[in-house]
């Protein structure tokens, strides 16, 4: 289901069967998934794709900003499709439900802090964790 007829803008990469498969796996899943989970999902679904290819594709997508990459508590990389504007995540510690949040407040604060200490070319990472309504 949920065909990916749209171009999916893969930033100058060939739209190969494998890359489309990974893209669709991301498209039809709401939360964050590890490369291996995506690999398993594709295998189970029939569109088998090599594990190395899944890793490569996810890296490319993350670099291009087409997906968000964050790390679990134990360092594993997990990915999720997301809007292309800068934003942060509010993640449920129990079920993983994720909400994208944004606002000028943090952006301003981080810039101010950096400027105050003479740091240039600033970026930041911010993740909020909590227990969502359904899991309380």
């Amino acid at each position: 289901m949920t065909n990916t007829d749209q171009p999916t803008d893969q930033a100058g990469l060939r739209p190969t069967k494998q890359r489309l498969a990974v893209a669709s796996a991301l498209a039809e899943t709401e939360g964050f998934q590890s490369a291996q989970e995506i690999h398993d999902l594709l295998g189970r679904r029939g569109d088998s794709v090599g594990l190395a290819t899944v890793y490569r594709t996810l890296q490319r997508l993350a670099e291009a900003g087409d997906v968000d990459m964050m790390r679990t508590e134990d360092g594993e990389a997990i990915y999720r499709r997301c809007s292309d504007s800068h934003h942060h995540h509010l993640v449920c510690r129990t079920c993983g439900r994720t909400v994208e949040v944004e606002g000028p407040a943090v952006e301003r604060w981080t810039s101010a802090m950096a400027a105050e200490h003479g740091y240039a070319d600033v970026s930041h990472t911010l993740e909020i964790f909590g227990t969502c309504r359904d899991c309380q």
Copy 2:
């Protein structure tokens, strides 16, 4: 030098020679270090401590909140002694120089976002990266 005569509050853990060695390695270093770097440092210095022990000790200290743990871009865990109050880090992408920053603004913002979406029991992680004055 810089003896660690203070109790170093190891949260109910036996103050063994090894744990004290790790604590002192953290005490005399300013920036973030990986477990392996600490292990090497101790070896070079004579207070040889098993690698597994270094890992175990750092985990305990991190859980107890006596040191900060964050992850490098590629998922490696790095540790640094730090003040015990809640704060965030402003890290130089080039030389690693780190400044601890804090302020009620972000704390309020994250709480507000979480509340707005019905998330309870909230915590967050925030790291700011930039290029420090000396590295520009």
